[in-house]
């Protein structure tokens, strides 16, 4: 007891309890345990919370996405995908081929792929090419081998078809009259046993594979000259190969992918689908320096002549200064093959539902194409208009680039055209020379937007008026005295032989010998002199320097023009008033230039070349240039041959419709 002395200064009790507590804790580790417990619980809690958050987060994200999958953005139109021709996995095709006097048909797996029973049409050998892997029709042709030269076209075509393709042949009416041995041998090499003995009015069907294998052949001989062989119906089976085998193994590039797509669908384009050494489909011609037409849209007006379109686009894309992005191909009708060609070259194509018939259909197609072009390129002041049966000169865009400012600045101009109606091999000479003419040649030309939008489009002939768009454009109500600029040597070449107003004879007579510029980068001469007033000065200068030819000679004779080079000559013909083209037509006829209607004139003056001399023809007294005629010279008058009038009238109509 005496040890205990309470001392108020210190607080031993407190100290002790703290100490004890510490000691106790230390000894028992209860606090530590508690600490651990709390820690563990906290840890657990955190884990649980994080977990819950994670679950909520992902849930919400998923929910939101589901919710927000944009009802607003749903396409209202239910796109009911129409199943395309079902691609059967069948390995065997049933092929039926029928040949008779008045009807042919081909059915593949029950689907008719060819049927022709039209009267007086489709005579000759019908050929169908099928893809050996899919059975799809890749090409359909008819060669009227009753007529001359058609067998050559057939041989050409058959040679272009790739090995392994399935070929189906059938004759309608008559197919042997002009089927020469070469063609027969080609057919024989395809496996036909009958072909070498095909004769007058025989019926014949044949299915084979290019490069061998005969699937079936039937033949009915004509018993007599006046009768046909009995109709034959061939039913056979064709074994399909794998897709792999049917395709070439080109390196996998963007271009080759396009090529592959093309080549698996169509046939008859030769080396573009060649496995070993395919012809390029991208050309990369040199760009033009200071190209003023780089941003000018190019409208290619096309119908269903895919082979023409192919040739045309090749030449167009090879022209220097071409801008593929500005090219749009307008196809009149829902034809697949022209579209395939367009896609092969990576261009854009637009199909147009045909409206009306014949010339009016073409005319409506033109209108739709031009309107669409200016809609698609609202910035454009001009459009280049081309057709599918034209070759385009290598300097086509260079020619336009050098002259387009005239169309912009000179109100008296109607168009710039790449075509000189009178520019034949023997009448055109100077690639750098331009003319002004009162006619509208078309065949590759430039249209001013304001002309189209303000004048032409609103009153374009309606479908029920069966008019030609170009004839309509040439009418004085539309042309209003304005002129077109054309080159001496054409920058386009009209190669089409098949067409609405075109046939082989006509083409041979008026288009085949047309001169076509092949020289690149031609520097045009004196472009400024093509302006309205400057051109008059230029003509007066030319006439002033021109030597007057001997008017006592016959202008049709070669000797009419002296054997010189590079001189300027002038002759005067009789032309009573502005529309009197009697003498001119006769002169054009004997010069073998365009004589079906009047083309290429400028105020009663025609400019062309003869024997490499510039040759001017002035109509007196209608032409304002008549004053240049020396008083001693009597204008030449040539009378139209009276007899031929009827004969002339027929091609004149055809000609009027053409181009």
């Amino acid at each position: 007891m005496d040890e205990w002395k309470p001392n108020p200064a210190i607080k031993p009790h407190k100290k002790r309890s703290w100490y004890l507590a510490w000691k106790y804790k230390l000894m028992n580790q209860r606090t530590l345990r508690k600490l651990c417990q709390t820690g563990a619980v906290l840890f657990l809690l955190v884990t649980v919370i994080v977990n819950i958050k994670l679950i909520l987060d992902t849930r919400r994200a998923a929910y939101e996405e589901e919710e927000e999958s944009a009802q607003d953005y749903d396409d209202e139109l239910l796109n009911v995908e129409v199943p395309r021709h079902p691609v059967s996995n069948k390995k065997v095709l049933d092929v039926e081929v029928y040949s008779s006097r008045s009807k042919v048909y081909v059915a593949v797996d029950g689907t008719t792929v060819l049927e022709d029973e039209a009267r007086e049409q489709g005579r000759g050998i019908h050929v169908i090419v099928l893809n050996q892997a899919t059975g799809h029709v890749m090409a359909k042709r008819v060669f009227d081998t009753y007529s001359p030269h058609e067998d050559e076209a057939m041989v050409l075509f058959l040679n272009m078809v790739a090995r392994g393709r399935i070929l189906i042949f059938t004759i309608k009416d008559e197919g042997s009259f002009h089927l020469k041995d070469t063609a027969k041998n080609v057919l024989k090499s395809l496996g036909s046993q009958v072909a070498p003995f095909l004769s007058w009015r025989d019926m014949w069907t044949f299915v084979g594979k290019k490069g061998g294998e005969l699937y079936g052949e039937k033949h009915a001989k004509s018993p007599a000259l006046s009768t046909w062989g009995d109709p034959v119906l061939l039913k056979t089976e064709v074994h399909l190969t794998s897709v792999e085998d049917a395709e070439c193994h080109w390196p996998d590039t963007e271009l080759n992918r396009r090529r592959k797509r093309f080549c698996s669908k169509v046939e008859g384009y030769g080396s573009v689908c060649s496995c070993k050494d395919p012809t390029p489909i991208e050309f990369n011609p040199d760009p033009l320096k200071d190209n003023k037409v780089f941003d000018v849209p190019v409208a290619v007006i096309a119908g269903n002549r895919p082979n023409y379109l192919y040739r045309m686009l090749r030449s167009l894309l090879s022209a220097q200064g071409v801008n593929p992005q500005m090219i749009t191909v307008f196809i009149d009708g829902y034809y697949e093959e022209p579209m395939d060609v367009v896609e092969l070259f990576g261009l854009s194509g637009i199909q147009h539902t045909p409206i009306s018939i014949k010339n009016a259909r073409v005319s409506q197609h033109y209108k739709a194409s031009l309107t669409a072009t200016f809609n698609l390129f609202p910035d454009a002041k001009f459009a280049v208009v081309l057709e599918e049966d034209l070759d385009i000169s290598v300097d086509f865009f260079s020619f336009l680039s050098q002259s387009i400012h005239l169309l912009e600045e000179d109100e008296s101009l109607y168009c710039i055209s790449a075509w000189n109606d009178q520019g034949y091999e023997h009448t055109a000479e100077d690639p750098s020379l331009l003319y002004r003419v009162e006619t509208m040649p078309g065949l590759g030309w430039v249209l001013r937007k304001s002309l189209y939008k303000d004048e032409l489009e609103p009153k374009w002939p309606t479908p029920e008026k069966l008019w030609d768009w170009d004839m309509w454009m040439r009418m004085p109500e539309q042309r209003k005295g304005r002129e077109c600029i054309i080159p001496d040597i054409s920058r386009s070449y009209h190669f089409g032989i098949v067409g609405l107003n075109m046939n082989g004879y006509f083409h041979e007579a008026y288009f085949k010998k047309h001169k076509f510029n092949t020289v690149p980068n031609v520097q045009l001469k004196n472009v400024e002199s093509l302006r309205k007033d400057a051109y008059e000065t230029e003509i007066h200068r030319l006439l002033g320097e021109a030597e007057v030819l001997d008017h006592s000679k016959n202008p049709c004779e070669d000797s009419f023009v002296p054997d010189t080079e590079g001189r300027v000559y002038v002759m005067f013909i009789r032309m009573e008033q502005e529309a009197d083209f009697t003498t001119w037509t006769q002169l054009a006829k004997c010069l073998h230039i365009w004589d079906l209607d009047v083309r290429g004139n400028h105020k009663g003056l025609w400019r062309l070349f003869r024997k490499k001399n510039h040759f001017l023809v002035v109509g007196v007294p209608a032409s304002p240039y008549s004053s240049k005629k020396p008083s001693s010279v009597t204008p030449i008058y040539m009378e139209p041959p009276a007899k031929e009038e009827g004969a002339v009238a027929v091609p004149a109509v055809a000609a009027a419709e053409q181009t």
Binding site: C36, Q37, A40, V41, F43, L44, T47, V48, V50, N51, K53, L54, D57, T58, A61, E64, E65, E66, E68, S69, A70, D72, Y73, D74, D75, E76, L78, N79, E254, Q325, I331, Y334, M339, S348, G349, I350, Q351, H352, T353, I355, A368, T371, A372, F374, N375, L376, F377, P378, D379, K453, D454, P458, K459, T462
Partner: protein, 461 residues
């Protein structure tokens, strides 16, 4: 005993939580690989990681675009809004390194860019490169509206939108097309049936709910957040424009059906009238736009647009509507300067104002001023000889852009209500004899002008 129990429970709990943790990790990994990290940063809650993801995706996208020489420009309203605040500074600074990521790291789901269609070549290579860089992409195509107005052209669908997605961020690329009328157009974004609805939260897109029409913007190359990017030169103007850019396409199909029923007048007179009306409208649009006065197609001109996508050839005048709040005293002198003398002026600014200008030939340009009330909008008419007032009532409407005779103009978005109010339910039937005082179905007699005001409210020249 209790202690042991507690310990066991604790140990068990810890084990469970450990398992939980492991499971979590596994789940993260699983989710990551599937969603390209979409949720990763969200859950981690680390804002900076998410921010830099956005910046990285934008940078990658710009790199992709640059490697294919495709000129895009930024039209993202969020970023442009931020940029606009600092526009002076951004314009003046040549683009040295910036301390913080201020714009491209801002929280958002998309970054929106615009692409002018004519400036690129639709190379497929772009998408292959994009895929190699890890982008997933979607393309939205639809019919080309530039060819829609034409009879039976087909074959072309054009790309309207692209979405490139990488990690948790997506780039929305809006394709703009130039159209007749010198403006830019972008299409609506519509999902086709087979499309992945969850690709991105489509609802949050700033462009694509409706088609839109814009002026061609002047662009400015700037460097923001160390990225070089083109932006509209005046972002605030662009944002303003964006807020009312909705575009209505003319109803070409219905117009064709209309012309099937009532063949178009192709006479020379009709052609002439349309030509004159078109040039008068162009002139009026130019004049009013220069003044900054917003206007829309009204009455017969609006009906012509809505019903037949063309000028009604027998309508004899061009009608425009203007809100009275947009009235400017300069309007009359401006038109006179443009060669359109004032023909008459009815009413006054406070009530029933109407201006008529004499166009070339016999065509009149009528400008009706519209007064807004709580539940309707109206404009007034005045009969010159009697001083009678008329009132034409319309339901409330907003303005949309459209294209008419190669011009970008406003029309009421709620066109049908507008036309029906004016022409009644039979607006589809052409009526050639029209009396403005009695024919409209929304006309109301509105009293007579006091005679002493006549000199002011009835001015005829």
């Amino acid at each position: 005993m209790q202690k042991i129990n507690k310990n066991v429970v604790l140990a068990l709990l810890s084990l469970t939580s450990l398992v939980f943790l492991l499971f979590q990790l596994y789940y993260y990994k699983f989710y990551l690989s599937q969603k390209n990290g979409a949720v990763f940063s969200k859950v981690r809650g680390s804002q900076s990681g998410q921010d830099s993801t956005r910046w990285h995706v934008v940078r990658k996208f710009l790199g992709l675009i640059a490697s294919h020489n495709i000129p895009v420009y930024l039209i993202d309203p969020l970023i442009l809004g931020l940029v606009d605040k600092d526009i002076e500074q951004i314009r003046s600074s040549p683009g040295g390194p910036t301390p913080e990521c201020k714009y491209f790291c801002a929280p958002r789901d998309f970054t929106t860019f615009a692409l002018l269609d004519k400036t690129w070549k639709h190379e497929v290579g772009l998408f292959r490169t994009a895929e190699k860089m890890g982008f997933q992409w979607l393309k939205f195509i639809n019919k080309d509206p530039r060819l829609d107005g034409m009879d039976d052209l087909s074959g072309v669908e054009i790309p309207l939108h692209y979405i490139f997605k990488l990690a948790s961020h997506a780039i929305h690329l809006v394709v703009f097309y130039e159209r007749s009328g010198n403006y830019l157009w972008h299409g609506p974004l519509r999902l086709k049936q087979h499309m992945d609805r969850k690709f991105v939260p489509f609802r949050k897109l700033h462009f694509g709910r409706y088609p839109g029409a814009y002026e061609k913007p002047e662009l400015l190359l700037v460097s923001i957040d160390d990225l070089k990017v083109q932006i509209p030169k005046n972002p605030s103007n662009f944002l303003e424009e964006m807020s009312h850019s909705r575009f209505l396409e003319c109803r070409y199909r219905e117009a064709r059906a209309f012309f099937q029923l009532y063949p178009d007048d192709a006479s020379l007179d009709a052609v002439e009238f349309r030509k004159k009306a078109k040039s008068l409208l162009h002139l009026a649009a130019l004049t009013l736009n220069n003044l900054g006065v917003k206007f829309w197609l009204s009455s017969g001109t609006c009906l012509g647009w809505y019903r037949q996508c063309n000028v009604i050839p027998y309508s004899k005048d061009v009608d425009l509507g203007v809100f009275i709040r947009d009235y400017k005293a300069d309007i009359i002198p401006a038109f006179q300067k443009a060669g359109l003398p004032l023909k008459h002026k009815f009413g006054k600014v406070e009530d029933s104002l109407e201006l008529s200008f004499q166009g070339e030939g016999d065509i009149k340009l009528d400008i009706f001023f519209f007064y807004e009330e709580d539940d309707h909008i109206w404009n007034g008419g005045t009969q010159a000889k009697s001083g009678k007032k008329f009132k034409y009532l319309f339901p409330k409407f907003t303005l949309c852009w459209t294209e008419f005779v190669e011009l970008k103009v406003h029309v009421p978005c709620e066109t049908l209500q507008y036309v029906e109010a004016n022409y009644g339910p039979d607006w589809k039937v052409p009526v050639k004899t029209w009396d403005w005082k009695s024919s409209p179905s929304n006309v109301q007699y509105n009293g007579v002008w006091p005679v002493d005001e006549w000199d002011d409210v009835i001015q005829i020249y």
